[in-house]
Symmetry: C2
DNA sequence: CAGCATCCCATCGGATACTG
DNA sequence: CAGTATCCGATGGGATGCTG
């Protein structure tokens, strides 16, 4: 193992080859996926679902400031992308819960690390400006 | 070290205490920081700066589809937040380069992991829907 | 080279009301 | 409970042109 490791992120610039996406190409599908998972509310929903599956109104209550409409839309997009699964229990009352797919768990884990770092360092950042 | 580790992201729900932010509170400053670093273009700029410092037009050329205006605005926001440093060399021609601060390196590293995972798995995701 | 100013529009997203 | 429909304002973001 070399002492001088390559710069982190050094592989990002490679173009499409052997099935790998290129986030810097505007029409690469990975760009759309990135936009979806980093969308304002997606980040918070994914982080919550990483803990455990949630029902619709659980999510609505947990994410303060989010409207039903945006929650519904966010879940629909994440489900279509294959990051979230929609599970319906036979009612009544009908109960719908949302849970991460394996791919969603991978993505949400990386997002949660970003979120947690920000939560832990927000104080230092505010102090330094 | 316990075999049963706590669920990833389990600490996200704690409220402000001992200086830690709470991303689920709409007016916690960490929410604004999250919005800034996950903004459409910020993600790509941060990932590029993780490789090495870049000059303005280098960034403009590397991020296909991004206008000068958005690059300028993105860099300004990230600089104000303390994630990016602006370095001016005495010209002419004047050359301005942008480089990550230590905090910016932390954030960009986490973002780059998300981006790289998406680039590597975009094929599988598209196939599965 | 490294921007800022202006114009303009498309999309994001909130409020409210309604449905199975 | 778990949404959908409609309306509408805010803002993200592109095109163009100008400046030091």
């Amino acid at each position: 193992m070399p002492v001088q490791s390559p710069a982190p992120g050094a592989g990002l610039r490679r173009h499409l080859q052997e099935g790998r996406g290129n986030i810097y190409a505007p029409d690469c599908p990975s760009r759309a996926l990135l936009d979806h998972v980093t969308a304002r509310w997606s980040v918070l929903v994914l982080a919550l679902l990483l803990e455990r599956p949630h029902r619709f109104n659980e999510l609505a209550g947990a994410v303060s400031g989010m409207s039903d409409k945006m929650l519904s839309q966010t879940l629909k997009t994440l489900t279509a992308d294959g990051f979230v699964e929609r599970l319906v229990s036979d009612g009544p009352p009908v109960r719908v819960s949302y849970r991460l797919t394996p791919a969603g768990t991978e993505v949400a884990g990386r997002i949660a690390e970003l979120v947690e770092w920000l939560e832990e360092n927000v104080g230092a950042l505010l102090a330094g400006r």
